[in-house]
Symmetry: C2
DNA sequence: CTGTTAGCGCGTTCAC
DNA sequence: GTGAACGCGCTAACAG
C-alpha cells in the first residue's frame, strides 16, 4: 500500500498553507479561484483524501450511522438496511451494521461498540432490551431511532424517535377482507407470543370481527413459530379441532406457506375450502402455489423513514419528529382473492 | 446526551496518569493489581469508553472493515454479509456496509468513501469495475478480498486476495445428475451474458455433456434475465423450438421458478416431462411446487471465508492465502429427483 | 511499575 | 485572501 498523502503534503506541494487546502477540500469561502484550482490539481495528482478520523476528532462528527438488526440475512431486515443505506448515503453518511442474533447481551455489546466508534446516530431494529436498560444506553447517543419498538413514558430521552408499523391496521384490513368475502369463522395463527407485532395484529383482527358483528373466539387464535413448519403444524391442529374454519389470517408469509402445505396434506382446496392471508409480502408470496394474499410492509420505506427521522434530529430538529408510522397494504392474490 | 468521560477524566479521578489508564483499558502489562482495580472502578463509575477515532489516529488501526455489495437486500449478499459480520465481530472488527446498486460510478464512490473512513480492510463482492481501475483502487487499501471476481496478472497488488465459487463444478454436478437420470437433451438457461458465473457454469455443463459422450449444442444454451419472468420467457421459447428437451439447468432459482410457471402454462409435468435444476438454494427452493433441485452455495460460508482471508492478511500473512474456493453442493428435491 | 513528551491528521481561532 | 498556533483523545517511545 502506497503511503497516503496527507494535508501537509498537499500544502507543501501546492506552496500554500494547510489551512488553505482545508478550505478547498471543504468547499469553504476565502480562497481565490486560482489558488483553489492549483490546490485541486495537487489533490488529484497526489490522490489526496482527507482522513475522516482526524476530521472527526476535530469536528465531533464522524459521518457514520449505526444500524443494529437481529439478523441482516433475514429478508425483512436486509430490506430495511437497504432503505437505511440509501437514505444515509444520499446525505453523506455511511453505516456500520451490527447483528444482535436476537441475543440481548450481544445487543448490549454492539451498542457499546458503536458508541466507541462514535456514530453520529443510531437506528435500532426490534430491540430485545428492557425499556429501562435501553433508555440508559440510548441516552448516551447523540440521536437514535427505534424501529418496530415503542418506548414510552417520561424518561424517554428527547433524542430518541421511533418508526412503527401499523400492525393493527394490517390485522384489521386482512380480516375485513376475509369477512367481506363471506367468511364467518376466521382463525389467526399469531406467531410468537412475545411479539409486539403479533399483539397488534390480533387487536386488528379482533376489531374487524367485532365491527362486523362476528364473535371473537380466543380458541381461534393460536400462537406458532414464525416458520413454515410452525404454520403447518398449527394449521393442522387447529383445523382438526375446528373444521368449521374457512379462512386463516397468518402472522407472516412463512406461516401462510406452512398452511398451504397443511392444506395439501389434508386435501383442502385454496381458496375454496380455506382462504389464507399472510403478512410482509416477501418474495415468496407471488411465487408459491397458490400465490399468497398478504399485507405488504414496505421494508425499504421503513428504513428510509427511520433514517429520515434520524437525520432530522441530527440536523437539530428535536421535537415534532419523534414518531413515524408505516401503513401496510393488502395485496390480493390467489389464496384469498 | 451526557458529556462523555475521556481518558483525562478517568486519570484525574483515579489520581494516576492518562498513560496508566490507557494501559488498563488495553489490558497491557505494567500496572499493579491495585492500581488496575482502582482505575477500573473509576472507568465503571464514569462510564468511560475509549474514543475509537482518537485511538485510530494514534495507532493507524480502526477496527473497521468495509463491505461492498451490489445490493444488501439481495438474499445472496445479505447472506454473505451475515457471514462477514459474524467473523469480523468475533475478531473485534465492525463492518461498514455500502451498496453499489450495480453502478460502477457508485462503486468508485463508495470505495473512495471507505478509504476516507480508513477501514483496515475491504471485502468487495461482485465488482463491476474494470481490472485496471480496480487494481489502482485496491492498491490503496491495506488489504482487500474480492468475492466472486477473479483478478489475475502481474499487477495484482499482493495485498489482494479472492474467494470464488466453483461454478464450473456446480454446472457439471447439476448436468451430470440429469444425465445419470437418463436425460439426453438438456438445455441451459444461462442468465446474463455478462456474468462470469454464467460462463463457468456453462463450462461445467459442457464438460459434463462431453464426458458422457453427449453432443454440446449451442442452441440449447440461451441467456435470460436472472428473474422469474426471464426464466419463464426463455423456457417458453426454447421449449417451443426444441420440444425434445427433457431437462433444463437454470442460472439460478428464480429462473427455475420461471420455468416451473412456463411448464404450468404449457401443461408439462415436472419432473416427468421436464426436469429442472436451479442454482443458489435460496429460501424459495424448498417452498415452491414442486420443490426445486438446486446447487447450494453457502452464502454465509462465503462471507466467513472472505473475512478469514482478510483477517489473515491483516495479521501479516501476505502470501499463501491469496485464494479460497467454495464448493457448491447439489441438493436433490422434487424437480429433478 | 509509572509518568512525561510528542505527535497522529485535521479544523478552529485568531492574527496578518 | 491567507497563515500560525493550538487542541481534539489517545498511544508510542522514552524516562524515571
Amino acid at each position: 500500500m502506497p503511503v497516503r498523502a496527507i494535508i501537509a503534503d498537499v500544502a507543501r506541494e501546492a506552496g500554500v498553507s494547510m489551512m488553505t487546502v482545508s478550505r478547498v477540500v471543504n468547499n469553504k469561502e476565502g480562497v481565490s479561484l486560482e489558488t483553489r484550482q492549483a490546490v485541486e490539481e495537487v489533490i488529484l495528482k497526489l490522490n489526496y483524501r482527507p482522513n475522516n478520523f482526524a476530521r472527526g476528532l476535530a469536528t465531533k462528527r464522524t459521518g457514520t450511522l449505526g444500524l443494529v438488526v437481529p439478523d441482516i440475512s433475514n429478508p425483512f431486515f436486509s430490506g430495511v438496511a437497504r432503505g437505511v443505506e440509501k437514505a444515509a448515503f444520499a446525505d453523506g453518511y455511511s453505516i456500520l451494521v451490527c447483528n444482535t442474533e436476537e441475543d440481548p447481551q450481544r445487543e448490549l455489546d454492539v451498542l457499546g461498540l458503536l458508541l466507541e466508534k462514535c456514530v453520529d446516530g443510531l437506528v435500532l431494529c426490534s430491540s430485545r432490551l428492557k425499556k429501562q436498560k435501553l433508555q440508559t444506553i440510548l441516552a448516551q447517543y447523540p440521536a437514535a431511532v427505534l424501529v418496530n419498538k415503542q418506548l414510552e413514558g417520561v424518561n424517554v430521552p428527547p433524542s430518541v424517535g421511533c418508526v412503527l408499523i401499523n400492525d393493527k391496521a394490517g390485522g384489521q384490513m386482512a380480516t375485513s377482507h376475509l369477512i367481506k368475502s363471506g367468511h364467518k369463522v376466521i382463525g389467526f395463527l399469531s406467531g410468537p407470543t412475545v411479539s409486539q407485532s403479533s399483539r397488534w395484529r390480533e387487536e386488528g383482527y379482533r376489531q374487524a370481527l367485532t365491527e362486523a358483528g362476528l364473535p371473537y373466539r380466543p380458541e381461534m387464535v393460536v400462537p406458532c413459530a414464525p416458520t413454515v413448519e410452525g404454520g403447518q403444524q398449527a394449521a393442522a391442529q387447529l383445523l382438526a379441532v375446528h373444521p368449521e374454519i374457512t379462512a386463516l389470517f397468518c402472522f407472516n408469509d412463512l406461516v401462510a406457506v406452512g398452511v398451504i402445505q397443511a392444506c395439501k396434506e389434508s386435501d383442502r382446496a385454496i381458496p375454496n375450502d380455506l382462504a389464507i392471508i399472510g403478512y410482509d409480502d416477501t418474495i415468496l408470496a407471488p411465487l408459491v402455489t397458490p400465490s399468497l394474499t398478504t399485507c405488504r410492509v414496505e421494508r425499504e420505506e421503513l428504513g428510509r423513514l427511520a433514517t429520515g427521522l434520524l437525520l432530522k434530529r441530527l440536523g437539530g430538529c428535536i421535537d415534532g419528529c419523534e414518531k413515524s408510522i408505516l401503513e401496510p397494504a393488502l395485496i390480493l392474490r390467489a389464496s384469498a382473492p
